[in-house]
Subunit: 256 residues, 2 copies
C-alpha cells in the first residue's frame, strides 16, 4: 500500500484546528471527507503538527496510505478540486517510503507569528494577524528573545493541557523581523525547533508582546523561564497570528 | 467649514464599489453612515477614484466638509471605531485648504493588479488576487506592456460605459513584477498615470494575460491598441486582483 506525503496550506480561522473531532469542523476531517469523494475510503491522515483552532499553515505536512495506485500529481489535483471552497490547498504530493512518518520523521519545525502594528484596524488581513494598536519596542523584544533560545525547561511557556512527557526543548532560533508590507507595518516572530510544546509559540509571543509594550523588562522573561511555572507566563497571544511555515526532514520528500 | 482629506484602505469584495447607490452596499455609503453616527449629519464624500465593485484600495483618498471643529486624529479614530467590522480603515486624516479636491487636485494615480500563479487554489488571499493555474510568460507580458506606455487613444481598453470625454490618456509606467510571497508566486502589474479610463487597468491586465498564456503575441497588443476599437480588447480581468495603491498630489496632504 503506497504512502503519500502531502504539503498543505490552510486558512485556520473557520476550523477547530487540525485534529478530527466529532461534530467539529476540522482540517483533518475536511481532507478525509475530500478523500472519501475520490472513492478512497477514509484512510487516516497523520500531520507533522496538530495546529490549534484558528492557527494557519503555509506548509503543514501529512501522510496517508492509499489502497490504490494514484499519480501524486493527480491526487493533489483531485483533492484540490474538492477542497477549493474550504480554504485548504494541497501544494505538493509525493510517494514516500512505508516507514516514513510526517510527525516522527520530522527534524525541524518553523513557525511564524504575524503582528500588525498600526492604529487602523486590519482590512485585508483580518484573522490573519494579531492587530496591536500601540507601539512595540522591537529591540526590547529581541533582547528578551535571546534568553529563550537554546535548551531549556519550557514549563512556563506550555499549556496546562500539554501532553508532552518532557518540558525540556531546544529552541534553535527566535528572531524578530520588522516588515513594511503594503497593508502596514508588521512584526514577524520566527521560531525554529525540532519540536514545540503545546501553545509554546503563542505563550512566548504573548510574553514578548508585554516586553514590547514596556510592561515587562527583557530580564523578567528570563525570570519567568527560570520559574518553570505556568503562572509566570504572560498572556497567550491569539491563534490568528500563528502560521506553521515549514517542516524539515533529513531528506525533503517533495524534492523533484 | 473645514475640509478634511482621508486616506482610506478597504477590502472591496463585499462592496458594490465606491459610489453610493440606493439599496447597495457601497464604500462611500458605509463611510457616510459612520459619519452620521458621530453626529456630523451625512456630508457628501468625494473620492479620487470611484473604484468598481470588488476592487480594493490601499490608499484611496477622499475629502469632505464638516460643520464642526474636529481634531483630524480624533476624526479618524472615531470613524475607525464605527468601520472596524466593515473592512474599511481610515489610515490618515488631515485638514486641507477649502479649494483642495481629492479628485481634481490629483496629479498621479497608482494601481497594482495581483495575479496568483500556481496550481493550488488560494487560501489566504481568496478574493484578493486573480488566481491563474497555467504558466504565464512574464517576459512576453513585459514586452507587450511597452507598446501601451505613453500617450495613446485607449478606446480599445476602456469600458463601453466610460464617461470620459476624451479617450486620449498618458500611461506613465506599466511594469510587471515577479514576486515570491509566503503564499506562492505572484505577478504584480503596476500602472501609473495622471488618470485612467473606466476599466482601463483591468482591460489591459486581461489582455496581457492572453500574451502571458501564449494566446496573443506582444505585437497583437499593439495592433489592438491601434484599432481603437473596444472589440479588439482581450477579456477584462476580474476585479478582485485590482488595488488602488496611491494618489499623488502636488503637495502630500498627509505630510506631517
Amino acid at each position: 500500500m503506497p504512502r503519500f506525503a502531502l504539503k498543505i496550506e490552510y486558512h485556520g480561522a473557520k476550523f477547530c484546528g487540525w485534529q478530527k473531532q466529532s461534530k467539529q469542523n476540522t482540517i483533518q476531517g475536511t481532507i478525509e471527507t475530500a478523500l472519501s469523494k475520490l472513492g478512497l475510503g477514509r484512510p487516516p491522515i497523520f500531520a507533522a503538527g496538530r495546529t490549534d483552532s484558528g492557527v494557519h499553515a503555509l506548509g503543514q505536512v501529512a501522510h496517508l496510505d492509499i489502497p490504490t495506485k494514484f499519480e501524486p500529481f493527480r491526487l493533489s489535483e483531485a483533492l484540490n478540486y474538492h477542497l477549493k471552497a474550504k480554504r485548504i490547498a494541497i501544494l505538493d504530493c509525493a510517494i514516500v517510503p512505508c516507514d516514513w512518518h510526517a510527525r516522527f520523521s520530522a527534524i525541524k519545525r518553523h513557525y511564524v507569528y504575524r503582528i500588525l502594528s498600526r492604529r487602523a484596524p486590519a482590512t485585508h488581513t483580518e484573522k490573519l494577524v494579531w492587530h496591536i494598536k500601540k507601539y512595540l519596542d522591537i529591540n526590547a523584544m529581541q533582547h528578551a528573545a535571546i534568553y529563550l533560545v537554546g535548551q531549556h525547561d519550557f514549563t512556563t511557556f506550555r499549556s496546562a493541557h500539554c501532553q508532552a512527557e518532557n518540558p525540556l526543548k531546544t529552541l534553535d532560533q527566535l528572531t524578530i523581523e520588522a516588515k513594511n508590507t503594503s497593508h502596514g507595518f508588521e512584526i514577524h516572530i520566527h521560531a525554529y525547533a525540532r519540536s514545540f510544546l503545546h501553545r509554546q509559540v503563542r505563550s512566548i509571543v504573548g510574553t514578548l508582546e508585554r516586553v514590547g509594550a514596556g510592561a515587562w523588562s527583557p530580564k523578567e522573561v528570563q525570570k519567568a523561564l527560570e520559574a518553570r511555572d505556568r503562572m509566570a507566563c504572560g498572556p497567550v497571544s491569539p491563534p490568528f497570528g500563528l502560521y506553521l511555515v515549514d517542516i524539515g526532514y533529513a531528506e525533503d520528500p517533495f524534492k523533484k
